[in-house]
Symmetry: C2
Subunit: 120 residues, 2 copies
Amino acid sequence: MEDKVNLRDALAGFDEPFSPRIVGYLNDYKLQVAKTKGEFVWHAHPDTDDFFLVVSGVLTIQLRDREIVLGPGEMYVVPRGVEHCPRSNGGAEILLIEPAGTVNTGDAPAGALTAEERML
Amino acid sequence: MEDKVNLRDALAGFDEPFSPRIVGYLNDYKLQVAKTKGEFVWHAHPDTDDFFLVVSGVLTIQLRDREIVLGPGEMYVVPRGVEHCPRSNGGAEILLIEPAGTVNTGDAPAGALTAEERML
């Protein structure tokens, strides 16, 4: 990372929901900003935890037995192997950290929401 | 992480500067909140990058050839092996992510600012 990243500025650079943009790396982890709107797909990441921090809006991380409701400045780590489905009726902007190579839809069948890794 | 973490609430739980508190893990990385006030020590981490995100206040990360000035919602990753010295005259609150086991003072001689790993 040559220079700092302002999360709000980075998020202002695109509109597409569920299409994370890489803004830097922490060792072999990708630091991504993303927008969420509506419901994602149920999936799990068998090999890694999944870090979410909400920058603006409200993101609900649905788990099979409960919901984690995140507002600005709140973070949650979905443990590896745990099924989850992010949902954000009003829209949210987030920082998402996962190992590089992690597929956003995890073990769900690849589909319209499966995003290629891309830099901002 | 059993439940979500609200960064501001977590930071309200202690006052000591340069004494990071672990609030969760992302795989083998520790997620820490910390307060900074004044100047830290020059050091590098030979084996890892170092992630900083400012929650409140202003943190200046001094590098040998320039300074990175971070306000709320701004993040920077110090590359592995790069000497740096955080400074915050007015005080700042941050999220800090490093591999578990990373010593806060890096390769500098252990001293008063060297902190044990501790949970919030």
